[in-house]
């Protein structure tokens, strides 16, 4: 029963991956649409970033002094100047840990 649902979810997910790559040809998208598609990373990833920072595991908003906000700011600053993915992630995590284990403890 659950396996059947997993297979359906898998097929659906695969279709979302495949449809635009395999079934749409370049000519079907006009220049205007292509220009807008340049913004896809900036238009999609914040929908993963913002809730990951500002909404907790229970689906409610965090307090404004939540360590995650500080960690994210540090990650943005380090990422902007270092242009390094590992440095960005580590800086965010370490500053977050510093607050939850050292400052707020």
């Amino acid at each position: 029963m659950t396996l059947t649902s997993i297979i359906f979810a898998g097929i659906l997910t695969y279709l979302t991956r495949m449809t635009m790559i395999a079934l749409i040809s370049r000519d079907m998208l006009g220049d205007k649409i292509k220009a807008v598609l340049e913004y896809v990373p900036s238009a999609v990833f914040p929908a993963i970033i913002f809730p990951g920072i500002f909404i907790n595991d229970f689906g409610t908003f965090i307090e404004m002094n939540d360590p995650k906000i500080f960690g994210a700011l540090v990650a943005v600053i380090v990422g902007y100047f270092s242009k390094n993915i590992i440095a960005t992630i580590s800086a965010g995590l370490v500053s977050y840990w510093f607050l939850i284990f050292v400052v707020f403890n």
Binding site: T2, T4, S5, I6, F8, A9, G10, L12, T13, Y14, T16, R17, M18, T19, M20, I21, A22, I24, S25, R26, L29, K32, I33, K34, V36, L37, Y39, V40, P41, S42, A43, V44, F45, P46, A47, I48, I49, F50, P51, G52, I53, I55, G59, F61, K68, G71, A72, A75, V76, G79, Y80, I85, I86, T88, I89, S90, G92, L93, Y96, W97
Partner: protein, 228 residues
């Protein structure tokens, strides 16, 4: 001109830093599935059949919370519908491939792989075997995701929960978009998307994940019109 092997390796290298967040997250996903009371084989089957990060956790949480399978399946479809946008962007670079190759490559398109390969594609448009970069990012992600979820399933959550490693996921995506903060139009689009995602967070079937990008792309279209 790069060779196929060089492009594949370059893809692997470009995505590997993201494994710092993907591997702990995969372990957490595997462990949560077992903790929620699902059979280990089923939890693992998802990594192979769905291969879709957060959507796997949502699926199991909904089912264990008493939601119908229809709701759970629909939610996975909606969460992963963002791949339609990735596909639309990538199609430009993959159009010369045969239909069969496109079908295989589609299976390994993931968020981080799309992001890194798209950055590479923009800089190297003239390369002949560009798709090997995407295969490199996708396969690296696939192997790491299988190993990580499997270890979470077998060993349980050996990553201490207090570390809050789920927070590494927003950080990985910050690393992806942070250089675009230099461009005002991108900043506006990002803020639109981010605020919309918070505003629509409670919309049914986790649809905020596709509603907010659509709103943000409309804003992008408006900005393009203003620029002219």
């Amino acid at each position: 001109m790069f060779t196929k092997k060089q492009l594949f390796t370059r893809g692997m290298l470009d995505i590997s830093p993201h494994m710092l967040s993907v591997i702990p997250f995969g372990i957490i996903c595997g462990a949560i599935g077992v903790e929620l009371g699902f059979h280990p084989y089923l939890v693992y089957a998802m990594s192979f059949i769905i291969f879709g990060g957060a959507s796997q956790i949502v699926f199991l949480q909904l089912l264990s919370g008493g939601a119908s399978s229809l709701v759970a399946v629909a939610s996975v479809g909606i969460i992963n519908s963002r791949h339609l946008l990735y596909g639309a962007v990538l199609s430009e670079y993959l159009e010369k491939l045969s239909f069969i190759k496109k079908l295989f490559i589609s299976y390994v398109v993931v968020d981080q792989g799309f992001a890194e390969s798209n950055k590479f594609f923009k800089k190297n448009r003239s390369e002949k075997f560009l798709h090997y970069h995407l295969i490199g990012t996708g396969c690296t992600m696939w192997v790491c995701w299988q190993i990580a979820t499997l270890s979470g399933i077998v060993l349980g959550s050996f990553v201490p929960e207090e570390l809050g490693l789920k927070f590494a996921i927003p950080l990985t995506f910050i690393a992806i978009v942070v250089q675009d903060l230099k461009k005002l139009d991108h900043v506006i689009v990002m803020i639109t998307c981010g605020l919309s995602s918070l505003l629509f967070f409670d919309a049914p079937f986790k649809s905020y994940i596709i509603i907010s990008p659509i709103i943000a792309l409309f804003v992008a279209a408006l900005l393009l019109r203003l620029k002219k």
